[in-house]
């Protein structure tokens, strides 16, 4: 395997950027992750709750350009951080003294914060940062910082040093005032040439403003000498009109420019600013990377711009959905109590207005923002738990778009509760209610009557908008954006831009939800990796550097206790002495050392240089931030001790060292350390081959993505040929023909030396774990074979659901969407002989037997209708739908279809259309339905009736179970987490992609395939799979083989060995959750590092101290 390290740049540190970075880093690349904001997390750091769990779960996911692909020269403008994150202890004293107050963007402007602030209040570790735009640079925060973390005076313009040399004091003083006081540069002055040279020798300067005519040494001479002392110094000459020629001469010997006296500030300041900008640029970060992943996301639509019909910002108690999210949050303006902004009255009646800035041509959005329907449903559900069951939520919407996996069920569950009401309609505008802070809104209900209601609060479900920075970024990178500002991709891909080596993840290529963002991010990451790999930069083998840790397993515990202190006072000294003496009573404590300010660089040095020769365990008691930081791990190397033998405990810096809580923490730490031993590094060998089950577009895409990394793939296909559903699909909605794309993909698979294709084959049995599976494959007419592989990807796809509804099967004139596609494909459709076509959507979907949205049927109906219209413009086409699920950019096709004269009728599931088949000369099909707008019956005579029956899964339960994966209640692949780990099973090494996950379009299927391949590569790219540090083990002497642990393990990491004699744990799959340890009746199952003795010791130590 290639050992060269590749590197990639990821722009945007939202959820997609983080996902892409983790994927690339796990594959072994060096990743640079850049963001404009001072923190990571993007918009998701502001959302506390995500459906369907209504909790946050981001943690579940964690374990200017030029050049050709593989050689992107990127320049990153890195704003120097005014607060040193390594020093900041988060005490907040700086914020207390800061005189500036600005609206807090984190709480969507609902609260105020200081100019020095915590960007995300709940981050751990959490360090302050300075809002450079709001900061007045008064400097009040700098002296109060106890650790000297704030270096405001060394920042920005203050760091830019100007020397003014002039014999006239009036010139010196006015320049000092202009440049120092007004503009904020550091200005020093010299009255003569020799004084100037003295200052230049003493300290560096960036710019010198130099007078020419001075007594003694003149300006030109000073310039010559100055350039010897500081060659990089920029010099601007100041000259009287008479000596302009001298100034020009001075420029020949290195002066940059000149100014003719007298001059105004307007003439001077731009020149200084230009030099300052050039100076700043030297601080830019330059990197050469092999590929770029863009994940800069979208912004929320600002409803106050334009006509602002919703009165946002002018009518009280009209908020955006993002603001509402903050109002619900514990870190929000009212600490988690739901109060309305104007008078802080509890909110009991709230209305959500959907499609604000979406599906609205008046605000330039002929697209659906995709997320708002589910966002509103979730907010309504969470609000009921926050504000109580008497909370009434009303959602006013046009189409309820519950199109994603599990969305429909979540929606049904939410709107079936009494407190949540759905109203189909659209509010045209909101005006203030005179004399009241309630919000009155008016809309026309589906039945036609005008409704007027009063709410405590109205939430505007604001849409997504392309980021205004996207256009600049796209131009810089030479990639295209569409009319709405989203990045354009090549056909059949959601992540590849036209430029090779530049990929887009997340919402950058069109609005989408969290799960799809994460999928696109992983897809972009794997495509970036392919680019780097192809150019010679390979995946890197993670060589575990054998740290030279001392073997102390046979020594009795000898503990060094290091205590940190912030302040030096007689009282603290005596407290610390008393504490030390008390700790030393324990014979295991060999030594107690008190250090000052471990959080500072000096303190850290003192800690790492502490003599640990005589000890074998170390306990550090310091501030909270220290214990959370990554620093504790760094100590292992400097002490030569295994990391598990170093423990840090939090000392509360607001209390003295003798506070009971502090003593208890330290005593508990000591007791725990006494009983721990070094944990052996576990790893298991990986079979570097992948098995992909299913040869449709998803399976082939996954196989290609893995094989392109030099890992062999076995691709198993049940039928006699590759292609799956693409073999019967004719073209996409935008007219791209499918056959060439399919032929090209099959060609690549066939030609790829790393892919072994097995058609007419089925997996009949499998066992094993991540890193090493065995699968038995049966091929028609051939002997059964066994394949050993490290990971498996299930891409078994789906099929159009069969139906006998609406007289299907009784007449040639009633077909399914697939049958129509086939007739078109095979030229068996005589469009000229037809006058009218009816399409019925949601046949058997979004209710039993398939209680989910199949996602592709609405765009498919539009595709066929538009195709028929283009063939035969006179043909009348009627589409009968429940909610048009044209999410994202597909909305534009819905608009186009209506413009073409295609008629749409909405129907309710309790009032379905009726179909009868006619015989004889009559038009073959009669469809009767109820038009809700006219509240009147409609009768359509149709030559053809097309039914959209949706998609059902083809994933056999036995196959999923053979690999330890599960199917969801609809028969699709059950992912580990619907948002954060959307393409992998809870059992490590098992992945799903394409329609096997849930119904999806071709580009979406390809994206999941690439995402699954990327996730699989994190296993397949290494020779040994490292285990988590904390894993469970079995003490076989105590084990009675009751197998409770095997049943209870949620990750399937436990199994009975071949002989059936011993319970084994796969360390690569074990997540160290401890479920087995609690289930074991015999204490035979334990989690390493958490032995009973050590845990009980810690509790005992804490209790003794109390």
């Amino acid at each position: 395997m290639d050992q060269k390290i590749g590197s990639a740049l990821v722009v945007g540190a939202g959820i997609s950027g983080i996902r892409a970075s983790i994927d690339l880093a796990q594959m072994g690349y060096r990743v640079t992750l850049a963001d404009r904001a001072p923190h990571m997390g993007g918009i998701l750091s502001q959302l506390d709750y995500q459906f369907p769990t209504d909790r946050c779960g981001m943690c579940r996911m964690l374990p200017m350009v030029e050049g050709e692909p593989d050689k992107f020269q990127v320049t990153l403008k890195q704003a120097p951080s005014p607060v040193d994150p390594d020093c900041c202890i988060g005490c907040g004293q700086c914020s207390e003294v800061c005189p500036v107050e600005v609206p807090d963007a984190f709480n969507a402007g609902l609260t105020h914060r200081k100019a020095v602030y915590l960007p995300v209040p709940h981050n751990i570790p959490n360090t302050y940062t300075i809002d450079q735009a709001a900061c007045t640079r008064c400097g009040a925060c700098e002296p109060v910082c106890p650790t000297g973390a704030i270096r405001l005076s060394a920042m920005g313009r203050r760091a830019f040093r100007i020397l003014v040399v002039d014999d006239e004091s009036i010139v010196r003083n006015s320049l000092d005032a202009w440049l120092g006081d007004e503009e904020g540069y550091t200005v020093e002055m010299a009255a003569s040439g020799p004084e100037a040279l003295e200052k230049l020798s003493a300290a560096p300067f960036h710019l010198m403003l130099l007078d020419i005519k001075m007594p003694g040494m003149d300006g030109v001479e000073v310039l010559e000498k100055a350039r010897v002392i500081q060659p990089a110094l920029q010099v601007v000459m100041m000259t009287a009109y008479a000596t302009v020629e001298t100034a020009v001469d001075a420029m020949k010997i290195g002066a940059m420019d000149y100014l003719v006296k007298p001059f105004e500030p307007d003439a001077l300041i731009p020149k200084v600013a230009a030099v300052y900008d050039a100076f700043q640029e030297t601080g830019y970060l330059k990197r050469t990377v092999g590929a770029i992943v863009l994940a800069t996301g979208t912004t929320c639509f600002d409803p106050s711009v334009g006509k602002n019909p919703m009165g946002y910002g002018t009518v009280p108690n009209v908020v955006t959905s993002l603001e509402f999210e903050r109002m619900l949050s514990g870190t929000g303006p009212d600490a988690g109590r739901l109060c309305r902004p104007s008078d802080k009255r509890p909110v009991k009646r709230a209305a959500w207005i959907q499609c604000v800035g979406s599906r609205d041509l008046q605000s330039g959005a002929d697209f659906c923002s995709t997320i708002c329907c589910m966002f509103a449903l979730k907010e309504a559900a969470v609000a009921r738990t926050v504000a109580g069951d008497d909370f009434q939520a009303t959602i006013i919407y046009m189409d309820m778009r519950t199109f994603g996996k599990s969305f429909e069920r979540y929606g049904q569950q939410t709107w079936s509760t009494d407190g949540v009401r759905l109203e189909r309609g659209r509010v045209h505008s909101i005006a203030p209610t005179p004399g009241s802070e309630d919000v009155a809104i008016r809309w026309t209900s589906a039945s036609g009557e005008t409704r007027e209601e009063i709410f405590d609060l109205v939430v505007l479900s604001v849409g997504q908008r392309a980021n205004d920075q996207t256009a600049l970024l796209a131009e810089e990178l030479g990639i295209d954006t569409d009319g709405f500002g989203f990045v354009r991709t090549v056909p059949f891909s959601d992540t590849r831009t036209q430029r090779v080596g530049v990929f887009a993840g997340g919402t950058l290529t069109g609005p989408t939800d969290i799960a799809e963002s994460v999928i696109r991010a992983s897809s972009a990451a794997v495509n970036a990796s392919r680019t780097i790999h192809r150019a010679g930069g390979g995946l890197v083998e993670k060589t575990a550097v054998p740290d030279a840790y001392r073997d102390v397993s046979r020594e009795p515990p000898r503990i060094l206790v290091v205590l940190c202190r912030c302040e030096t006072s007689a009282e603290t000294d005596s407290d610390l002495d008393a504490l030390s003496a008390r700790l030393k009573q324990d014979p295991a404590v060999t030594q107690v050392v008190v250090l000052e300010h471990i959080c500072t660089a000096d303190g850290w040095n003192a800690l790492t240089q502490t003599d640990t020769a005589g000890v074998n365990r170390v306990l550090v008691g310091a501030c909270r931030t220290f214990t959370y930081g990554k620093k504790a791990h760094g100590l292992a190397a400097s002490f030569g001790l295994d990391p598990s033998l170093i423990e840090s405990v939090a000392m509360d810096d607001r209390q003295g060292p003798d506070a009971p809580a502090t003593v208890a923490a330290i005593m508990a730490g000591i007791s725990r350390l006494k009983n721990v031993s070094a944990i052996e590094e576990n790893s298991i060998a990986v079979t570097n081959r992948a098995l992909v089950v299913g040869g449709g577009i998803a399976g082939m895409s996954a196989a290609l993505a893995i094989a392109d990394h030099g890992v062999d793939v076995t691709l198993v296909e049940e039928s006699e040929q590759l292609g799956g559903n693409l073999t019967w699909l004719h073209q996409t909605i935008d007219g791209a023909p499918i056959a060439p794309f399919l032929d090209d993909t099959i060609g690549q698979v066939d030609k790829h030396p790393g892919i072994l294709v097995m058609t007419d084959s089925r997996v009949v049995g499998a066992f094993g774990q991540a890193g090493h599976f065995f699968s038995t494959i049966e091929t028609a007419g051939e002997p059964t074979t066994t394949v050993e592989h490290g990971a498996v990807i299930l891409a078994t796809g789906g099929r159009e659901a069969p139906t006998d509804a609406y007289a299907h099967g009784t007449s040639e004139a009633v077909v399914t969407q697939r049958e129509l596609e086939t007739r078109i494909h095979e030229n068996r459709l005589d469009t000229d002989a037809m006058k009218s076509v009816v399409m019925i959507q949601c046949v058997g979907s979004r209710e039993a037997p398939r209680n989910y949205c199949s996602r592709v049927c609405c765009p498919t109906a539009l595709k066929q209708a538009l195709w028929l219209k283009s063939r035969s413009p006179e043909l009348q086409i009627y589409i009968l739908y429940r909610d048009m699920m044209t999410c994202g950019l597909a909305e534009a096709w819905y608009t186009e279809a209506r413009k073409q004269g295609i008629l749409f009728f909405q129907y309710r599931p309790d009032r379905k259309p009726e179909v009868s088949i006619n015989t004889g000369d009559k038009v073959p099909v009669s469809v009767r339905l109820h038009d809700p707008i006219l509240d009147a019956p409609v009768e359509i005579a149709a030559d053809l009736l097309v039914l959209a029956t949706g998609i059902e899964s083809r994933l056999p339960e036995a196959l999923a179970l053979a690999y330890g994966a599960e199917r969801d209640q609809d028969g699709f692949f059950q992912e580990a987490d619907s948002k954060w780990r959307p393409v992998e099973a809870l059992k490590a090494g098992v992945f799903g992609c394409g329609i096997a996950l849930s119904p999806r379009s071709i580009p979406e299927a390809v994206a999941t395939a690439e995402a699954a391949a990327g996730r699989a590569l994190t296993i397949l790219a290494v020779e040994r799979l490292p285990a988590a540090r904390t894993t469970a083990i079995v003490r076989h002497s105590l084990c009675t083989l009751c197998l409770r642990c095997v049943d209870t393990c949620p990750y399937g990491a436990r199994f009975l060995d071949d002989a059936g004699q011993r319970v084994q744990v796969n360390p690569a799959m074990c997540q160290g959750c401890g479920d087995c340890a609690t289930a074991c009746p015999n204490s035979a199952s334990i989690v390493e590092g958490f032995s009973h003795r050590s845990m009980f010791g810690a509790i005992e130590g804490a209790l003794v101290a109390m």
Partner: protein, 199 residues
């Protein structure tokens, strides 16, 4: 024809082609009801604007012509301003009036004559002369009760000095040439109409 009656599709009405230009204007409608919600006259209309647009889209000319919804449109443009699809609804309302007047719909005879006589007065004088306009209207209506229907309103307006009784104080500016040009433009297709700088 009652809008509540069965709509048969494809459209059976022979004469519905005259609706085609208006159908094209509103075909992108998503039936969200914003127009109805924002219409200040909706309460007086027999069909809500949304229902009427639906009938237009379904090609039910006679049901549309029976309604007085489009006659009651006061051209305030609120629906046009609010429509999420940006449809030219006010323009479409005007076009419906045009069809109704061209078809000399009996139901809208009063409205048509009112419009015609109003414009005739403007054409002759370059401004409205209430007494002359009303006299012409009453004559055209050929209804002896018409003046009495307007009497209370007329008296009220007179009381406030809103009706000019005698001849105009200012000189007349006949607008014949302007009216002819407009009539000329209206005979030409809509595309040309736009090119001339009209909305």
């Amino acid at each position: 024809m009652n809008p509540q009656s069965v709509t048969t599709l494809p459209t059976a009405e022979e004469s519905s082609e005259s609706l085609d230009p208006i159908r094209a204007m509103v075909s992108a409608c998503i039936q969200c009801g914003t127009c109805t919600g924002s219409c200040p006259n909706a309460l007086e209309m027999d069909l809500t604007p949304r229902k009427m647009w639906r009938l237009v889209i379904l090609g039910r000319l006679s049901a549309v012509m029976e309604s007085k919804t489009f006659i009651l449109c006061s051209d305030c443009y609120t629906c046009t301003l609010r429509c999420p699809r940006g449809l030219p609804l006010t323009e479409a309302m005007e076009a419906l009036k045009g069809i109704a007047f061209a078809r000399k719909e009996a139901r809208h005879r009063g409205s048509r004559l009112f419009y015609e006589k109003f414009m005739e007065t403007v054409r002759r004088h370059g401004r409205i002369r209430e007494m002359e306009f009303m006299t012409r209207y009453f004559i055209a209506m050929k209804s002896p009760v018409a003046p009495f229907r307007f009497a209370p309103l007329g008296l009220k307006l007179m009381g406030k000095g809103k009706v000019e009784l005698g001849g105009g104080k200012s000189g007349d500016t006949p607008l014949g040439a302007l009216f002819e040009k407009v009539a000329d433009l209206e005979r030409t297709p809509a595309a040309t109409f736009r090119k001339e700088g009209h909305q």
